[in-house]
């Protein structure tokens, strides 16, 4: 009897439509949907069932399309998010509205998976409780939101979005939210047409190895469909890049020696079929493994191999701040405590791996890729390609999470080189493992800290020394080294201070920017030692912080004096009711509980300077009015999920005096939109927001001048006209009678804002930032002392944002930041060669993030638009130390390293009891 061999063609229903395709044997359903059937709403985050972004319904059952063999769809019905939204599924339609009303989609890459999972749940159980929602959505990871707003949306908890036109201060829906819900937002892998040439990279399997590339011609001959090979020899400009020009040290392709596991040495470009069967291990390259240094201690040891010429002893650079006399103050202090704390690599783990598409258009290179910094990308490509900026166009795609890592170029050079060499369009998408191996991480830290205090609780002396593992290349390591000494004091008044940070090279992946640039690590050291100090002094941890809190008119450790806007006391005071209630509740719980569960409540604070440290940091925002009466905002501040598209528009609309809903947004395409700087350093709402305000004001002045209207006049955009109501008088401009410029505008304004700073001297004294934002958080945890497990049960977070332009988005930042801080505190540690996927590298799931109460504090800042301060990084700085302090409060154990895994905490508890 013959076996049944399936017809190679399969037929199934896709979103109600009968489709027939011929997949290759064992093709994933996700690939069939995306590449053969154009269902790019199905997002790929891991290809291993770990992230759930690709969730689809098959005969109504929720499955990861990446784990289902396409042949198994034969005869079945497949529903994707786009189909659910376009059809008449009532649950999907309701979720579409509720997700937007709650701000439950940030970057949007996980949203299709979340919505599909929620539809499956609601069909089976129309009125679920929170536990049921968590269980149903547990298979989808989100790195932006902290999940709480997703839970609220699925449960249909009340949301109160403001009207769509709302300006500064209104909780309006995200302007780009609809596309994220429908799955129609195009991320890095969603641009290229099916069949486009693909690029695959050959990477070093060793942390340090010399290599020689063999006979590539023979390889090309033997591998049909591989069009070309790229190596360092194909780089027409300099084979070197780096976000800080003085430290640019990273090659596009390594030459002779690879310095970290995962470093690219060559690439192949070929048809999708050829790339599918391309095995990097068969590429002609011979490796000679060399001794590697994989941690700071080894890198600093005498005789350690040196990674870069001119960086003796593997020390890349250092940062230093001092004021007063720390040693003398420590000597006279009544009490001195000291600690050594450490942390490992932390992976950004955005759900969208780096991806993009490039093509040649009229002799110019056009790169479509996910990025946080399009103009910096272009600057890097000018050097690598040896081309003029005018011949390079960067068109950012949607960004499925960034958190700092997408500030650096990743796929861009390979795309450009591939399209230049082949003359054809090319695409690349990093696998999850490649993304984790090769892109930047949070710096591991090793921090020694001594702090003294007088009996009245005032700090007397602070001495901080931190070494930061910057990996094989500089990336943003110098920024970390500079920022840490400026911030290591926390938002406190410390007159006698010394802080030194160093960046040390190792044969590890480059450590770069990750939400906070080293400050979350230094805050762990400082805020946990503050608790130890308060304990020795017999002071309440909140009172101790208030005694030392920085106030208006007092110098920071850099000697900068803010006459206004210092909001840390307001944040700490906002937490007092919660602090007292939770400490009391914990005491009662522990009194009544005989078992192994102990509850603890911890507090920690933080501050963060917004924008570049003592360097120019301008943003330009441009806007025009078309002859048809449309107002177009060229919004170049990359929205990576945080909401810049919405917030910058709200500020601009407020300044111009029109409803936000009347604007058309133009994105950060370098051909048409001026540079609004990078989405980094919590600067966009402050810096680009200011440029937007100035631009709105300038355009308003032009319009009012054109009709001689008074400054109080209201502007009413219309078709082919703009009307003005000025008291009793009305005016209008018949726009179609005006001569439009080359861009089609009859009115145009562009304004730039650069925050005022001054350089730091040799002692780190100066004006590093125009403003700081302030934060304080309470963590409540339950520790299972028998198993070493930690369950956060509540957070209360007070954040001074100066002015909340969109309170709903502010809450989204707070919740998402806390989730990342929680991950860093409890579970995340990237170990090269060992945790290179999302089932060995753990990030919080929907079941790990407890309710978060956000308290928005508004102490206005004189520089920020309408008083705004930055927020994006502040949100995770206090989280890890608050959790560690809560663990100590619960069980008396002070951990010296994160993550506080059950294994580590259990060992510490057992040690403590000995």
């Amino acid at each position: 009897m013959d076996s049944v061999v399936l017809d190679p063609a399969i037929r199934f229903m896709l979103n109600g439509e009968d489709v027939t395709v011929t997949p290759f044997p064992g093709e994933r359903l996700s690939q069939v949907l995306r590449e053969r059937l154009g269902a790019r709403d199905v997002k790929i985050g891991c290809n291993a069932g770990d992230c759930g972004a690709c969730s689809v319904l098959v005969d109504g059952e929720n499955v990861c399309a990446c784990l289902m063999m396409a042949q198994q769809a034969q005869g079945r019905s497949v529903e994707t998010v786009a189909g659910l939204m376009a059809g008449d599924d009532l649950h999907a339609r309701a979720l579409e509205q509720r997700f937007q009303d709650h701000g439950a989609a940030q970057c949007g890459i996980c949203t299709p998976g979340m919505v599909v999972s929620a539809v499956a749940l609601l069909r089976a159980c129309p009125a679920p409780d929170e536990e049921a929602v968590k269980e149903a959505l547990a298979g989808v990871l989100c790195r932006c939101t902290g999940y709480r707003k997703i839970i609220d949306a699925v449960l249909d908890r009340p949301a109160m979005p403001d009207e769509a036109g709302g300006g500064a201060g209104a909780s309006i829906r995200r302007l780009d939210g609809r596309a994220k819900l429908a799955g129609s937002e195009q991320f890095g892998d969603d641009v290229a047409a099916a069949g486009t040439l693909e690029i695959a990279l050959v990477r070093s399997p060793y942390p340090r190895a010399a290599f020689e590339i063999g006979d590539t011609q023979a390889f090309l001959r033997d591998n049909a469909g591989i069009e070309t090979i790229l190596t360092a020899n194909d780089v027409p400009g300099e084979n070197r890049f780096g976000v800080i020009p003085a430290f640019a040290d990273q090659p596009v392709f390594a030459e002779r020696v690879a310095r970290f596991r995962g470093e690219a040495v060559a690439a192949v470009v070929g048809s999708p079929e050829a790339i599918r069967v391309f095995d990097p291990e068969r590429f002609p390259v011979t490796w000679t493994v060399l001794d590697a240094v994989t941690d700071v201690e080894a890198a600093l040891a005498g005789g350690a191999p040196q990674l870069h010429e001119g960086r003796d002893g593997n020390v890349m650079c250092g940062g230093f701040v001092t004021c007063g006399d720390a040693e003398a103050a420590l000597a006279r202090a009544d009490i001195v405590v000291e600690s050594r704390t450490g942390s490992g690599f932390v992976e950004h783990a955005y759900i969208e791996p780096e991806a993009g598409y490039a093509e040649m258009v009229d002799g110019r290179v056009e790169i479509h890729a996910c990025t946080q910094a399009p103009v910096m990308d272009r600057e890097a490509m000018e050097i690598i390609l040896g081309m003029d900026a005018r011949d390079i166009r960067i068109v950012p795609t949607g960004v499925g999470g960034g958190f700092g890592s997408k500030l650096d170029i990743s796929v861009q050079p390979y795309l450009a080189l591939g399209t230049i060499k082949t003359g054809r369009p090319v695409r690349i998408t990093l696998s999850r493992t490649e993304s984790m191996q090769s892109t930047t991480k949070r710096h591991p830290s090793d921090i020694r800290l001594r702090i003294g205090a007088m009996k009245d609780g005032r700090i007397s002396g602070f001495d901080f020394r931190g070494d930061f593992d910057t990996g094989a290349y500089a990336s943003w390591g110098p920024t970390v080294a500079n920022r840490v000494p400026v911030h290591a004091s926390g938002p406190y008044r410390i007159g006698d201070y010394r802080a030194e940070a160093r960046g040390i090279h190792t044969n590890c992946p480059p450590a770069g920017a990750f939400r906070g640039f080293g400050v979350p690590q230094s805050a762990i050291a400082q805020e946990t030692l503050f608790d130890a100090l308060a304990e020795k002094l017999g002071m309440d941890p909140l009172d101790f912080r208030l005694v030392n809190a920085l106030e208006d008119g007092e110098p920071t450790v850099c000697g900068q004096i803010f006459r206004q806007g210092v909001g840390i006391t307001a944040c700490l005071e906002a937490l007092r009711p919660g602090w007292e209630a939770e400490r009391e509740a914990a005491a009662a719980f522990n009194r009544d509980s005989a078992g192994p569960l102990r509850r603890g409540v911890g507090i920690a604070a933080g501050w963060y300077g917004c924008g570049n440290t003592s360097l120019p940091n301008p943003s330009t925002i441009k806007a025009g009015v078309t002859a048809q009466g449309r107002i177009r905002l060229h919004q170049g501040a990359m929205d990576i999920g945080q909401g810049a598209n919405t917030v910058i528009a709200q500020i601009f609309a407020t300044a111009l005096g029109v409803p936000t809903s009347s604007l058309d947004l133009v994105g950060a395409d370098t051909d048409v939109t001026p540079d609004a700087g990078k989405t980094s350093a919590s600067r966009q709402t402050f810096v680009s927001g200011n440029a937007a305000r100035l631009c709105g004001e300038a355009l308003r002045a032009q319009l009012l001048r054109a009709v001689n209207a008074s400054p109080a006049a209201t502007i009413e955009p219309g078709d082919n006209t703009i009307a003005f109501v000025d008291g009793e008088r009305t005016h209008s401009i018949p726009l179609h009678t005006l001569e439009p410029d080359a861009e089609g505008y009859v009115f145009l304004a562009a304004e730039t804002y650069d925050p005022p700073t001054k350089p730091l001297d040799a002692n780190g004294q100066g004006i590093p930032y125009a403003q700081f934002g302030y934060a304080a958080q309470i963590a409540v945890v339950e520790v299972d002392t028998a198993l070493g497990t930690i369950r956060p049960i509540r957070f209360i977070a007070a954040h001074d944002v100066g002015k909340a332009i969109n309170p709903m988005l502010v809450e989204g930042q707070i919740q998402g930041g806390i989730a990342q801080g929680l991950g860093m505190a409890l579970m995340e540690e990237y170990i090269p060669g060992r945790t290179e996927n999302l089932h060995d590298y753990l990030i919080p799931t929907i079941g790990d993030v407890p309710p978060i109460e956000s308290i928005i504090v508004e102490v206005p800042d004189e520089h920020g638009p309408y008083g705004v301060k930055g927020l994006g990084e502040h949100v995770l700085i206090p989280t890890a130390p608050a959790i560690l302090n809560a663990i100590h409060h619960a069980c008396g154990v002070r951990l010296s390293a994160v993550p506080a895994t059950p294994s580590r905490l259990s060992a510490a508890i057992r040690e403590d009891r000995r």
């Binding site: 076996s3 290759f24 784990l67 198993l787 919080p844």
Partner: protein, 283 residues
């Protein structure tokens, strides 16, 4: 013939030939294990073989078809002795994984941290294996022979699991320890099945996963539990080091060996108490 989807067991066995084919069903382990550029194996997809899926009561107990999914287990009207298996089913990855992943796949993949194995050991499951012209049954404890290795011979496929009728009144519990709430590979896990008569434990079966190359039962602990009064369960010396002698945990990124041993003792105590449940102590 790189992809074959038979509809009967006989066809599947014929197609197997000398066993050069890669047998797949839920594919939840197959796809994540794929490496870039890896050649495509000839695939034998069992998901169309109707006879391999389904859960039924037999005169001797229960039969679980090889390609029954974790969701099938969760939806089946099984007696309380299967509670540990159901709890484990809810911990296998996510709903998405549970909808595709199969029980036999979990066993054949032979991961030391397979969630399904401890509850099935506590149920004393047997594995039904078919080859051309023959079938055999072996205890699950002998089916998995090591890390990623089984007793499956070339040309054989797993067709079902058989669970002998559990003793009347069997209660069952499962506990899993991980570093996060969902979607987590176990640091350690424990399944317990037992009966209670007159306030005393009987028929105790305790199985531990992720603490040895193959999940294993703890016979000394089971023996020690026999006849223990519910009233004495509060005693923390219930589980001793000697009881854990069959375990040989490793140090890995999820936890140290000493942590595993320490925590598994606690998990055993808790799982035993959980299986006993609210039974009042009449001492």
């Amino acid at each position: 013939m790189p992809y074959v989807a038979p509809i009967t067991v006989e066809e599947a066995l014929l197609a197997m030939g000398d066993g050069a084919m890669r047998v797949v069903a839920g594919c939840t382990d197959y796809f994540p294990s794929r490496k870039a550029g890896e050649g495509e194996p000839t695939l034998l997809d069992l998901t169309r073989v109707r006879a391999l899926r389904g859960i039924s009561e037999t005169p001797q107990g229960w039969r679980i078809g090889a390609t029954s999914t974790w969701t099938d287990i969760l939806r089946a009207p099984l007696p309380p002795a299967f509670d540990a298996l159901k709890l484990a089913a809810r911990e296998v990855g996510s709903v998405q994984i549970q909808n595709l992943g199969t029980l036999a796949g979990n066993l054949c993949n032979a991961s030391p941290a397979a969630d399904g194995v401890p509850p099935l050991l506590a149920l004393e499951a047997e594995v039904e294996i078919a080859a051309r012209g023959s079938t055999r049954r072996i205890p699950l404890s002998r089916f998995i022979t090591g890390v990623r290795s089984t007793d499956l011979q070339p040309g054989e496929i797993v067709t079902a699991l058989h669970i002998p009728s559990p003793p009347d009144g069997t209660r069952s519990a499962f506990l899993k320890l991980g570093s996060r709430r969902y979607l987590v590979i176990s640091i350690a896990m424990v399944a317990v099945n037992l009966t209670l008569r007159d306030g005393r434990i009987g028929d105790a079966r305790v199985a531990v996963g992720a603490c040895s190359p193959v999940a294993t039962r703890l016979p000394a602990l089971e023996a020690a539990l026999d006849g223990v009064a519910v009233c004495d369960l509060a005693d923390d010396t219930l589980v001793t080091e000697a009881h854990l002698a069959p375990l040989s945990p490793l140090d890995d990124v999820r936890g140290s060996a000493s942590f595993r041993l320490h925590s598994v003792a606690e998990l055993c105590r808790r799982a035993i108490r959980k299986a006993v449940g609210q039974e009042a102590c009449h001492g």
